[in-house]
Symmetry: C2
Subunit: 321 residues, 2 copies
């Protein structure tokens, strides 16, 4: 559950279905990100730009902009950019934490340029996020983003504390998901518009996203995910597929996680899959997405934005179907 997926969801489907305002604003977010990441005269700008270009889904900015709606001003573009900067910072630091060689099929900054540079680059991206918002007095956005950043770090620490503990409970796993993933998705929606149903929608699709990411770590295939199967297990990270499978097959729970090599991890993945746990977790994710979509009924959205947010929610599921 450390890394988020390498497979882009159909953001394009959302853009295709949208009227012109949304692609135009996402373009302004890209411009803002390039401004924030570049222009500090260090050779490192190249690393930051590689991180930016490796890109990813811009799912969090999309949520900010959709929740904010077509009538929102530049503060929505800034908030969308800032949350992506924080997300990028956590990815760069995650790769330091995990000594990860690859992300999205490319060498990580940590691997290609060293831990020191990666740690400092993450700190820079993180600082830039707050500087961007502070420069315009976006106080509500800063409070939301700082709160979510605290949650992210707490989630990371909780995961480290649980490492190699095969007895992690489902509720503990869900708590970690909420901290590590749910809170930033929730924050994205609330940055766009301060409405409780939107926050709940974000938290739920964040959870579904993480559940499916954790399925993918077990299911692979590596060509699709850009990383080896069982990478989480090798890192000692117990996720829901393992927790449910261990309840069905005691040999799984008895595995010595500290002693797994790549072959043993792949074999353990097969054994987890054989219990049917992956289908259960996928079903849980689908239910969570359905629940998220029902939240939108109470959010007072115009029909276009509701439809587009439903497409985002569907995209979280479809990328794994």
């Amino acid at each position: 559950m450390t890394r988020r997926s390498a497979v882009p969801p159909p953001v394009t489907a959302v853009l295709d279905a949208s009227s012109r305002w949304l692609p135009e604003r996402l373009g302004r977010v890209e411009e803002t990100l390039r401004e924030q990441v570049g222009g500090h005269g260090e050779r490192l700008a190249a690393d930051a730009e590689a991180t930016l270009a490796a890109g990813g889904k811009r799912l969090r900015p999309l949520l900010v902009l959709l929740c904010a709606g077509p009538g929102a001003g530049e503060e929505a573009v800034r908030a969308a950019s800032a949350i992506e900067l924080v997300h990028m910072a956590t990815l760069v630091h995650d790769d330091v934490l995990d000594d990860a060689p690859l992300r999205r099929g490319r060498p990580t900054v940590a691997a290609s340029r060293g831990r020191a540079r990666a740690t400092a680059l993450g700190d820079l991206l993180f600082s830039r996020a707050f500087a961007l918002l502070a420069g315009h007095g976006d106080g509500r956005a800063i409070a939301l983003l700082a709160g979510a950043s605290v949650a992210l770090a707490r989630g990371e620490l909780a995961q480290r504390n649980d490492a190699f503990d095969a007895g992690v409970s489902e509720s503990r796993y869900l708590e970690r998901c909420q901290l590590k993933t749910g809170r930033l998705f929730e924050c994205a929606c609330l940055l766009g518009h301060d409405a409780e149903p939107l926050g709940a929608f974000g938290a739920e699709i964040g959870l579904a996203f993480q559940l499916l990411d954790d399925v993918l770590d077990v299911a692979g295939p590596a060509e699709r995910t850009g990383k080896a199967r069982g990478t989480d297990l090798i890192d000692g990270t117990v996720t829901l597929p393992f927790v449910l499978a261990a309840a069905l097959d005691p040999a799984i729970g008895a595995a010595d996680l500290g002693a797994l090599d790549a072959a043993a991890a792949a074999a353990l993945c097969d054994r987890i899959a054989a219990t049917g746990a992956l289908e259960r977790v996928r079903a849980r994710a689908l239910e969570t997405v359905a629940a998220a979509k029902r939240r939108l009924a109470g959010a007072g959205l115009d029909p276009e934005r509701r439809r587009l947010l439903e497409l985002v929610a569907d995209g979280v599921v479809q990328r794994y179907s």
Copy 2:
């Protein structure tokens, strides 16, 4: 120039000279730091509290409180706490960057608990700083602190880019000092009171602080600094004593920094010292402190605060005398 000194300056001299308001407020900063660092229910709280207890000088909070003065409200206590959280975050991350075994004579979080935990702990402390300020709508403080945090990360990256480059110029070194140390001291003063002479005072004593820290890395002794002599050189960090010495003794500039072990680093330190470069850097630091103190004349301070700020400036020098 990576680590700041292990030797506490005479903060006690400042407190002794102050009327009751200052110790009372520094006490509230300690309380706030304990609140912010503890209470998130993770085992890691122990690491954070160890970092807090290892303590250090609280020099930046002291500057915030002195510049804010006795009439300031709780926002000065929050700003003083927030800047110390950012400072602590950078120390924890610096130890990850450097693989440092010791800080202030104790094992670092990175060494005792692993890089992963240390990276995440730094992120947590950093996030807490902004969350603390954002929770009270301290917009000006957030903008100042975010700007200084960007500078810190840029300074770190500049240092990494320059690593093992024996040809670093004096002006490049001074630029790095300003980013890595000066800006946070400047920020501390401006957090207290928005007056240009105070900001300049902070930047200058920050520079003097760094200059003397870099002398100490060469001069030692290890029993006093809590780290081996020449640690910066082994890390590839070229500082002003090296730059000035290399201009006087070409063999120094020709040293292969990438190949230094502890004994070779100590020998290089001796050679640097033999050029008289350390006295020159010390003299530069003293001049900088004197210039900083002259700034205070234009800051419109009451006599007590001016005297106390002068004591802080003297403290930066005295700890090395």
